[in-house]
């Protein structure tokens, strides 16, 4: 299964960077040792961190869930994938993470440093906190380092730093069941950050939280993103959340999910609670909602 040429309607050039500039990239899902060894350290900061070309996902049942999807995400960019349930946005995220294989198309992740496996450069936050109930907060955050067999002293330092970043240093010894939903999500975030990944993939991470907690986590995520310069791909079904957080909102169509519209969200940085009540925020939300409406209409008619 080779790459499928993108549908003309969805052909777009989001990034000024051509394919030739993508040095040191690997195709996830078909990593071969020889390819990994020959990686050239990536230095060009303007090259995309994530590049999808003609990615589709068809289930065994024959249902086409996704695509074809072409997507470029710049380094350090905060992109939201916004769409109705079942539009394949989570599937797209799992494909980028390498947790699912695309039926057709290619996924390329920019790669730098000396890590042998591209997957170590990805942090993933699921919709549920997905913590190990038998382990303390500290041991949950330790997991990625333990699996990579990182030296204990170094791991301890990184864990402390990650717990500090999400404001949970005091709860290192607690078990997940002793924490609130928002705190569990923070642990999940700390675990994703502890490996210092280039790319942070978030799959509706705050969908199950109450509004106040969600707003606080939104703000904390924004300030982490500003401090740490991660590339973030954030999947959500909330217009308000996507506009509040992102530099770019990608509105997806109903199944099979494709890119329906794109918005650049520009505002006077840094964003905060004032942005949430500003007129420009409201205007963006109205526009994005308008673009999203057909996705829901299509779904209701299906």
């Amino acid at each position: 299964m080779g790459p499928v040429p993108p549908h003309p309607r969805f052909q777009r050039d989001l990034s000024p960077v051509g394919r030739g500039a993508l040095r040191g990239t690997i195709a996830l899902g078909k990593i071969q040792p020889s390819m990994v060894e020959s990686i050239v350290p990536e230095t060009d900061a303007s090259s995309p961190a994530v590049r999808l070309r003609g990615v589709t996902k068809t289930y065994d049942s024959g249902v086409m869930a996704l695509g074809p999807l072409d997507l470029d995400v710049k380094r350090g960019e905060f992109v939201s994938l916004l769409g109705p349930s079942g539009c394949g946005k989570s599937t797209a995220l799992r494909i980028i993470a390498g947790l699912a294989a695309p039926s057709t198309g290619t996924v390329e992740l920019a790669h730098h440093g000396t890590e042998r496996r591209g997957s170590h450069r990805i942090g993933f936050v699921f919709q549920e906190p997905t913590l190990m109930p038998w382990a303390t907060v500290r041991d949950n955050v330790r997991l990625p380092l333990k699996l990579a067999r990182a030296p204990v002293a170094d791991a301890d330092m990184r864990i402390d730093a990650a717990l500090d970043q999400v404001g949970l240093a005091e709860f290192a010894g607690a078990y997940p069941r002793e924490l609130s939903g928002g705190m569990k999500m923070r642990v999940s975030l700390a675990r994703a950050l502890v490996t210092d990944p280039d790319i942070l993939l978030m799959d509706e991470p705050f969908a199950a939280l109450d509004e106040i907690t969600r707003f606080r986590l939104n703000n904390d995520l924004l300030s982490l993103w500003r401090d740490l310069h991660k590339t973030v791909i954030f999947v959500t079904h909330s217009v308000f959340e996507s506009v509040y957080l992102s530099e770019r909102v990608i509105v997806m169509t109903a199944r099979p999910g494709r890119i329906g519209a794109e918005f650049r969200i520009t505002s006077a940085e840094p964003r905060g609670e004032e942005f949430r009540t500003s007129a420009e925020y409201a205007a963006f939300c109205r526009e994005v909602s308008h673009a999203l409406a057909p996705s829901y209409a299509g779904q209701a008619g299906a």
Binding site: A97, L99, I122, R177
Partner: protein, 262 residues
């Protein structure tokens, strides 16, 4: 005993037990029932004390058999489940036979085992056959009910099979394994008793069940009751110990243990 309700819950069965004993004693006395028909509770207690040297020795034999059968069942059940989890083909090939072994009444298998195996071995194998299945099926269930996203996370971070087994599957399966072991404890006692009774006529058995059968032939009914009492107590203690171990291992994190704590 925190609240009056807890106290009542504890006292009621005790009261029923005491009332039953008093009634039993009264009926035996009132109707002058002979001990070889129905011994009174007091006589059973006296017999237990008088025959303690013989009975305690038999208790030791039965408990040892039970323990050996239980350990074999625990190891066998968990190891088989782990193998099944690693290889679907192995599971498809062997699981039906595990079911066959489970559904065939052990009392019918025991005489055959006694022909082909040494008696002590046969008794342990009997205990194993009865007890291993709940461990196997519970562990299998536990290993396959791992959170899908957690499994994805392990995959994302490039965990090896061994790491996934040790750090994810086994801890996730622990509550299920412990549940299986709790059932297996009682069942291995049953397996040991069944095998002892089946072996009784063959001669050299010395366990409690053998004492029951032997006392029956001799119409020593009080000793039958005393031995039965000991077997019952052994079963309760085994269950209690396993429940305690399970509670201690899970109390920090598992839902099943939370009610007792908080």
């Amino acid at each position: 005993m925190k609240s009056p309700q807890d106290l009542i819950r504890f006292l009621l069965p005790v009261a029923v037990f005491a009332a039953g004993l008093v009634l039993w004693e009264a009926i035996v006395r009132a109707y002058g029932i002979q001990p070889y028909v129905l011994p009174s509770p007091l006589l059973v207690l006296k017999t237990l004390v008088a025959d303690w040297p013989i009975l305690s020795q038999s208790l030791g034999v039965t408990l040892l058999t039970t323990l050996e059968g239980f350990v074999a069942a625990a190891i066998g059940g968990v190891v088989l489940a782990l193998l099944f989890n690693q290889s679907k083909w192995l599971e498809y090939s062997l699981f039906p036979y595990a079911v066959v072994l489970q559904v065939t009444p052990v009392i019918a298998i025991a005489p055959l085992l006694l022909i082909y195996l040494q008696q002590q071995t046969a008794v342990i194998v009997c205990a194993w056959i009865v007890a291993f299945f709940p461990v196997l099926s519970n562990t299998t269930l536990g290993l396959s009910s791992v959170d899908r996203n957690l499994a994805g996370l392990f995959q994302l971070y490039g965990a090896s099979r061994l790491q996934t087994l040790l750090f994810l599957k086994l801890p996730a399966a622990l509550p299920y394994i412990l549940g299986g072991l709790r059932i297996a404890g009682g069942l291995s006692l049953i397996g040991a008793v069944v095998a002892e009774i089946a072996a009784g006529s063959a001669g050299a058995g010395l366990g409690l069940a053998f004492r029951i059968a032997e006392s029956g032939y001799r119409l020593n009914i009080p000793r039958m009751f005393a031995a039965l009492l000991l077997l019952s107590l052994a079963g309760i203690v085994i269950y209690g110990v396993l429940a305690l171990v399970s509670h201690l291992l899970l109390r920090r994190w598992h839902e099943s243990a939370l009610g007792k704590e908080s």
